[in-house]
Amino acid sequence: MNVIVHGNAEHLSEAVLYARQVFYRHTLVESAGLFWLLAEFLILFAVLAGRRYLETDPVSRTFRWTGRDTQRALTLGVLFGVLAVFTYGRHVFLLPVHAFLLVQPDAADAAFLDAVAQMTRQRNGEHLVLWAAFVTGWVVLEVLIVYHGWRGHLLLRRLLDSSSPPSGGFTGNSRGGAVVVAGLLAFLLVPVAGAVTALQADNGLVQTMRAAYAAQTGYRDALYLYLRLAGVVWILVEWGAAVILWRAYRLLTDKVARMGERE
């Protein structure tokens, strides 16, 4: 491994660019993870609200926001907020490698290289653990969504099999969908451009960081195995959701068709 020449500002600058690029890539991946988590939270909330609505007896003419919905929205909102603050805010206390390099003097002895290597390994390890936590969160949320969706489907089937007497007119639509989508997309305004380009610099400091990442190959491959095992569960649950939706569609289509026959 080459040792940086004392006072070589160009090498330090290239190393900062390399470390910053890796930081942007990690941030992009974590932002996508938060986006998917937020979407799962929103879908879970909608499924819980729908199930709560179907459980009311008699079923209300309009969908009314209740205290229970507020409680659930706050719980999910606070949980997501904590995750987001931790994901982005940890960099204030756990200094990214490029920020560490920026505050260093030009000296580049072996102790400095060791410190850079250790910090690189730590930051990468934290990123891997966070990603594993995100994947686990998605699977857990999806299981909850499918479970409550299935219970809601059973309620719907029971309701339609024993139809209640007519209970009045109906309300208009909400235009909140576009606002929600815009909010979701806002997560993807994290610097994407810096994450997709490749930096070819190969000085001693960059080699130190590359070697530190390579040293964690075992942990990375273990995480990959966990991701693929979680992927099997994810696929099973997703197809469960698809089947439930298809059956709900068949149920409602048959009911509408029977209504048309009566008319």
Binding site: V29, A39, I43, P165, T171, G177, V181, Y224, L245, V256
Partner: protein
């Protein structure tokens, strides 16, 4: 001991195997996503048709457009390419799901009332 166990797990799974299974799983869960979004749109349009509301049209085009990058998963050279394609495909899917839920939540109550009451369509 945990550290050794994790490293042993890592030793059993190579990056090439990871990429191979990622491609397969990616296509499997994306297919499920497409079915989910498709039937959500069908359900929403069933309700809107019954109530005399305008149907959703453009979401079907968005859903169809998300299928275009999917063959790229098979040809992807590495994990980053697969990740990028997944973003292109799943972000619109999630946005469609949340949009359909938000726009049709109140209308769903009216649709259910129509089914329970059996009143004639407009």
């Amino acid at each position: 001991m945990i550290r050794e166990a994790i490293l042993w797990m890592g030793g059993c799974f190579s990056p090439e195997q990871y990429l191979f299974w990622t491609r397969i799983q990616c296509i499997a869960w994306t297919a499920a996503d497409v079915v989910i979004v498709f039937y959500m749109l069908r359900l929403a349009n069933l309700a809107r048709c019954t109530l005399g509301e305008p149907l959703h049209r453009w979401p079907y085009f968005v859903l169809g457009a998300t299928l275009l990058p999917l063959p790229g998963v098979v040809l992807a050279s590495g994990g980053w390419a697969v990740f990028g394609i997944e973003l292109l495909v799943t972000v619109p899917h999630f946005c469609l799901i949340v949009y359909v839920l938000a726009v049709n939540m109140r209308l769903t109550a009216a649709f259910l009332q129509r089914l329970l009451g059996g009143a004639p369509s407009p």
